[in-house]
Structure formats: structure tokens, C-alpha cells
């Protein structure tokens, strides 16, 4: 019989599985689809324009429309829609809940109350229309932005994405950090997972809560020490192969007419969304 796994263990296993499927396996990035066939530089530019439109637009409906555009693009790129929608909106409460929740109330967003939760002579707690509007904007903006970012990552092999960013003259350090972050995320998640598995195989029954927490704290520090050591060694390995602070890469991208057409269309749409 398997011991019941705790919340943290389940979350780690879940995050690993998602990342594995979404990013590390690059299974989706190698499919034949609309976004997969675009020039990665053009893709990065147009997605940045869309992101900008999402954060600048003042209309709720426009943001919703941009979300449907995102879904359409995902569908044309053979991304499983259920997976794509669920992953973004299930994680949303974690990221924005903390910020969006207080905004609902009259304490933070004064205005016309629609639901009164608490009423005494000196204290009044209510959800306001303005608060609801602010919170909805926030959640939608973040959700659609995350969807756009996820979509571009899902449809581009990581190596190609980094190269495109490099060619678009993003600072070297930034690209190197992204590259390393990706590698460590992979390594750390796998290490964490195997540490959990190794412990599970040695534990009969259930560990008491306190002991479990201590174990998790100790493992976390081991993981950090490992990743620190690794980053030092990786840097030495790069040095020994001639790295001098600026990585050189080959530029092999070519723009097709369809890329220009895509670029013009999407930039026009983004501009329209901001102006409307």
C-alpha cells in the first residue's frame, strides 16, 4: 500500500509533470502548426505587442477578445485546449489571488457597495462595483498575459526562443540567466522528485507532521547547496571552453513572406486593441 502523499509532495510532483509535458519535452513545439511555422523573431515581437495591448487596453471586452484570439492561435497550433486553459486558470489564484482579493473591498477600492459583509456603526466592509471591476481587470490581464507567454513558449523549442531573444538584442546576461534558470528548474525538479521517491521507498507508513516538515526544510537546503555548487562548476566549464562573458551564437533564421504578413496583421490588431 502506498503512503498518502502530503500537499507539498503532491504539488511538486504536479508541477514537475506539467513542466515536463509543457516545456521540457518540447513535444508540442515540434508539431506542425501555425505558430510552430512562424519565424521565432517575428513571433517574439508580435507576442510582445499583444502583451502590451493586454496591459494597456481599457476595455474588458477587448481583453476577453484578445483571450479568444489566443485560444484560436493555440487551436491552430495543435495545442490541447483543455490543458492550455486549465493550466493557466488553475494556477491563477496562487499568483493573483493575494493581490486581487483585497481590491474587491471598499477599504482598498472605495466606491458604490453591492454586497455588504459587515456593518457596525464605526466599521463598514463591503464589496464595491469599482472594486469588482479592478479585481476582474487584474485577474483577466494576468491570465491572458500568462496564456500568451505560455503559448509562445509551448510552440517554440527553448533553444530557438533563446536564440531569437539574442538576435533581438536582449542583453546577454538576461538570456544566459534564462537559459540557466531553465536548466536548473529541470535539474532541481528532478532532484527533488527523486529525493521524495528515495525517501518514500525508505519510509514505512506515514511520517509525523513535524518530522516531515523538518525533512522538507533539510532537503530544500541540500537542493540549494547543490544548485549553487552546480552553477559554479558550470561557469568553470564554460570558461574552459573559451567563454569570455559574451556567448557567440549562429544566426540561421530567415524571414518568409508569410512571416511579414503575420507580423503586419498582429501588430495592427494589437494597435487597434489599445486605441479602441
Amino acid at each position: 500500500m502506498r503512503a498518502r502523499r502530503g500537499f507539498i509532495e503532491r504539488s511538486i510532483a504536479d508541477i514537475t509533470a506539467t513542466l515536463e509535458k509543457a516545456i521540457f519535452s518540447e513535444e508540442l513545439a515540434r508539431k506542425e502548426g501555425l505558430l510552430q511555422n512562424l519565424d521565432p523573431r517575428m513571433k517574439v515581437i508580435t507576442f510582445l505587442a499583444l502583451l502590451l495591448a493586454v496591459s494597456l487596453s481599457q476595455g474588458l471586452l477587448i481583453i476577453v477578445a484578445l483571450y479568444f484570439l489566443t485560444l484560436l492561435l493555440a487551436w491552430r497550433s495543435r495545442i490541447p485546449l483543455g490543458f492550455f486553459i486549465k493550466r493557466v486558470w488553475l494556477f491563477m489564484p496562487f499568483f493573483t489571488g493575494m493581490v486581487a482579493l483585497p481590491a474587491l473591498f471598499n477599504i482598498f477600492t472605495p466606491g458604490e457597495p453591492i454586497v455588504t459583509l459587515w456593518q457596525t456603526e464605526r466599521f463598514h466592509l463591503a464589496i464595491t462595483i469599482q472594486g469588482l471591476r479592478t479585481a476582474t481587470f487584474l485577474v483577466l490581464r494576468v491570465g491572458v498575459s500568462v496564456s500568451l507567454a505560455l503559448l509562445s513558449v509551448l510552440t517554440t523549442p527553448w533553444a530557438t526562443l533563446l536564440k531569437a531573444l539574442h538576435i533581438l538584442r536582449l542583453p546577454q546576461v538576461f538570456i544566459l540567466i534564462l537559459g540557466m534558470a531553465y536548466r536548473y528548474a529541470f535539474l532541481l525538479l528532478h532532484t527533488a522528485n527523486s529525493m521524495f521517491l528515495a525517501r518514500q521507498s525508505r519510509t514505512v507508513g506515514q511520517m509525523p507532521g513535524g518530522e516531515n516538515r523538518r525533512w522538507i526544510a533539510a532537503s530544500a537546503s541540500t537542493l540549494l547547496a547543490k544548485s549553487y555548487h552546480l552553477s559554479q562548476e558550470v561557469y568553470l566549464a564554460m570558461l574552459s571552453r573559451g567563454f569570455r562573458g559574451e556567448a557567440q551564437m549562429l544566426d540561421t533564421f530567415r524571414l518568409k513572406p508569410s512571416d511579414w504578413l503575420w507580423g503586419a496583421t498582429l501588430l495592427a490588431l494589437a494597435l487597434l486593441a489599445v486605441l479602441m
Binding site: 521540457f24 523549442p157 536548466r183 562548476e233 568553470l236 574552459s240 571552453r241 573559451g242 569570455r244
Partner: protein, 276 residues
């Protein structure tokens, strides 16, 4: 043994400690001439990897002197761009842990890293990469992410990534660990060929069978991190007592018909065994 001139590495009473606590080398002195085939022999923890990192100009000992190609090998010396460039170009280090060495997003990029950092033109880069992939028979892995490969495949990619540098001096840290038998014997042959065409090869290992093939001269490190013996291959390998004292086990390979198997065993006393 012929005496050769041009010493390329000279160490004089070098001691190295990690974080001022763990001692990895104690007063090690050695000299390596160009075109030599050398083994650093020692049990786990005897300081072989540390010694290679020093030879590669990645660690700098606080005590003792290191000279390479007639120059002092110090942190200061590497601040001189032209010295750093010419040294990195001449000396290739194969790390013990291939995970450290593989930091690029794809196998192709990994193998192209060194030639690109050297500033070679595109055609030369491509031809070096293709040559290395072909020699290691890993053309089919070109688009894969190095960190997702099997241990043996990782090792091959790591070897290819040094090969594309075309170094004069090869520093190899347990190069055959994790390789399948066919690739292992290919690589041992390859090391001998490198040496025959004029490269210097320094290999750290505890595998006595491998040493037999890839070293003319051997330095032995004790478990107390001291250099306790040096001599020709014949001198060292026939000194059973020395090997035993350094906790070095001898692996016997036996062939039964077409099956090959190896089992480690120690030599309680001198005995003779036929090789082939």
C-alpha cells in the same frame, strides 16, 4: 625513457584546500612535457579532479607554483585576454560529471560552443561540429537537449564538445566511467591516436586496466592527497603493494566464449595473471 624538453606543465609543492577546510592536495610537484601520455592514479577523494582543475587554469592554489607553457598560471595571468584566449584554445578539459559540462539547449549548440567562442567563421564551426558528431556517432542526437540524455550519451556529447575545440592538451577526468564497452574501447583507442599524432593527454582514473593502455608515465596520489609515487607504467603497475596501499583495486576482465565480464578484486599477495 626518452627525456623530452619543453615542459608544458610544472607544479611545485602545490597544496589546495576547499574553503580553507577540506584539503584536496598536499605539496604536489610534477612536470609534464609536450606529447606525453600521463595518468593520474588515485582512489576516490585523492585529489585527481582538483589537480586537473588546477592544470586547466580553473582553480588557483594558494600555496605552491603552477607554470604552463612557460608562464605562471595565476588568476592574474588570465586577466590578460590574449593569454587567456591562447590557453583556453590549447587546453581542453573533460569534466568528471558531464552534467556540469552540458549547459547548451541542444547537442548541436553544445558541440558548437567552443568553436563559436573562438570566433571561427560559420563554415568552420559547422564542419567541426559535424566531424565531432560523426566521430562519436551521435549525429542522431543533434537536436536533443543534452541534459535529457542517458549518462553514456551525455559523456559522448561532452567528449564531442571538447573534440570540436581541437585542443593540443587533453585533460580527461575519469573519461570511461559510464561508457558502454564498445564506446569505451573506441575512446581508449582514440586517446592513443591523439597521443600518436602529437597531443598531450593527461587522464585521471582509478581504472588500472585503462591505465595500461593510455599512460606511458603514471603519477599516484594517496588517500592522504599526497603524490606518493611516479614512474613508468611498468614500474607502477607492477608495484602491487603500492597499489594496495592506495586502495586501488584491479579489475580482471575474462572472456568466456563471446561473453565478457569484469569483477573487481584485490591482490592479497603478488600473483601473475595473463593478459590476452
Amino acid at each position: 625513457m626518452k627525456m623530452r624538453k619543453e615542459p608544458i606543465f610544472e607544479l611545485e609543492r602545490v597544496s589546495f584546500t576547499y574553503d580553507g577546510k577540506v584539503t584536496a592536495l598536499r605539496e604536489v610537484s610534477l612536470a609534464v612535457a609536450a606529447r606525453e601520455k600521463i595518468a593520474l592514479l588515485g582512489a576516490n577523494g585523492s585529489g585527481k579532479s582538483t589537480l586537473l582543475m588546477i592544470l586547466a587554469g580553473l582553480y588557483f592554489p594558494a600555496l605552491g607554483q603552477v607554470r604552463a607553457f612557460g608562464n605562471a598560471l595565476t588568476e592574474e595571468a588570465f586577466k590578460d585576454e590574449s593569454f587567456a584566449f591562447s590557453f583556453r584554445r590549447k587546453v581542453g578539459l573533460l569534466f568528471q560529471d558531464p552534467d556540469v559540462q552540458l549547459f547548451s539547449p541542444t547537442v548541436w549548440d553544445e558541440v558548437a560552443f567552443a568553436p563559436l567562442q573562438l570566433g571561427l567563421d560559420q563554415e568552420e564551426v559547422v564542419s567541426r561540429v559535424e566531424e565531432a558528431l560523426r566521430l562519436l556517432r551521435i549525429e542522431s542526437l543533434r537536436d536533443r537537449a543534452p541534459h535529457r540524455l542517458s549518462e553514456g550519451e551525455k559523456k559522448k556529447v561532452a567528449i564531442a564538445s571538447i573534440l570540436s575545440l581541437h585542443p593540443e592538451v587533453w585533460l580527461l577526468d575519469e573519461p570511461t566511467a559510464g561508457l558502454d564497452p564498445r564506446t569505451e574501447s573506441w575512446f581508449l583507442d582514440f586517446i592513443c591516436q591523439l597521443n600518436e599524432v602529437g597531443h598531450t593527454v593527461i587522464t585521471a582514473t582509478h581504472d588500472l586496466d585503462a591505465v595500461d593502455l593510455i599512460a606511458d608515465r603514471i603519477y599516484v596520489l594517496s588517500e592522504e592527497n599526497r603524490l606518493i609515487a611516479q614512474g613508468t607504467r611498468q614500474e607502477i603497475l607492477s608495484d602491487r603493494e603500492l597499489l594496495l596501499r592506495c586502495n586501488l583495486t584491479h579489475e580482471h576482465r575474462h572472456r568466456h566464449e563471446r561473453l565478457e565480464h569484469a569483477h573487481p578484486h584485490r591482490h592479497p599477495e603478488r600473483h601473475i595473471h595473463p593478459h590476452e
